[in-house]
Amino acid sequence: MKDNLVWVLGFCVGFTLVLAVFLILYLVRRKSNEKPQYDERQLTARNQAYKYAFFALLFYSIVCAVLDALEIKWATLTTVMFIGVIGSVMLFAVICILKDAYEGFNQRRNSSIVVLGIVAVINLLVFVFNLFDGTEFFTNGMLNENIMNLCIGVLFSAVAVVQLIKNRINKKAAEDE
């Protein structure tokens, strides 16, 4: 019970921090009229990405439901839920980046990489600290909520790396043109 309370408290603090960072970014962008604008091709690509992420989450939920029915428990309910959300968000972001629709055409290409990188590093550091601290990542043979920092760290680093690679490709294509 106490462990759960600590986890919920930690989650709330982390969530509030991320929310605060995004709120600050939103306000800064609004003040400097840097609200992202997407052209028609980008909007279509984003719609497709939403669709793929939605169906991926649907498929994942069905697989999890089947596994649960077969009494195959691999993670706690909260963990299962969050891994699905994280996975579908990652899919959405990666598809958008690959189709040049993650950032608006009026935005600087590297603006989001810094934020993504910071969130990734913080979460990976928390995971490493937990690892050396002897935190348990399994409860009754199931992955528990403590693995969440690793999942979020991997999500944000993957998105940042894909964005970085795509920026390089775009830069080269613009030079070759």
């Binding site: 052209d39 028609e40 091709r41 613009a174 043109e177």
Partner: protein, 65 residues
């Protein structure tokens, strides 16, 4: 199918894809996709491109063959 007419009209005005994209209000990748034939623009975007390049829809987007 590649849109070479658009590419040559842009080149004739000595505009890069980025410059044309900024004038039209889209991303460089969108102009690139149209030139490569990977994206079919809406009539609204076609008109914006034509007006920017001083061409008609027939000049840039009509393929007689």
């Amino acid at each position: 199918m590649k849109n070479l007419k658009l590419k040559s009209a842009r080149a004739a005005l000595d505009l890069s894809q980025q410059q044309l994209a900024e004038k039209v209000g889209v991303s460089r990748q969108t102009i690139n996709a149209i030139e490569k034939g990977d994206y079919n623009p809406t009539i609204k975007l076609c008109i914006a491109i034509c007006q920017t390049l001083g061409k008609t829809l027939d000049d840039l987007f009509w393929d007689a063959t």
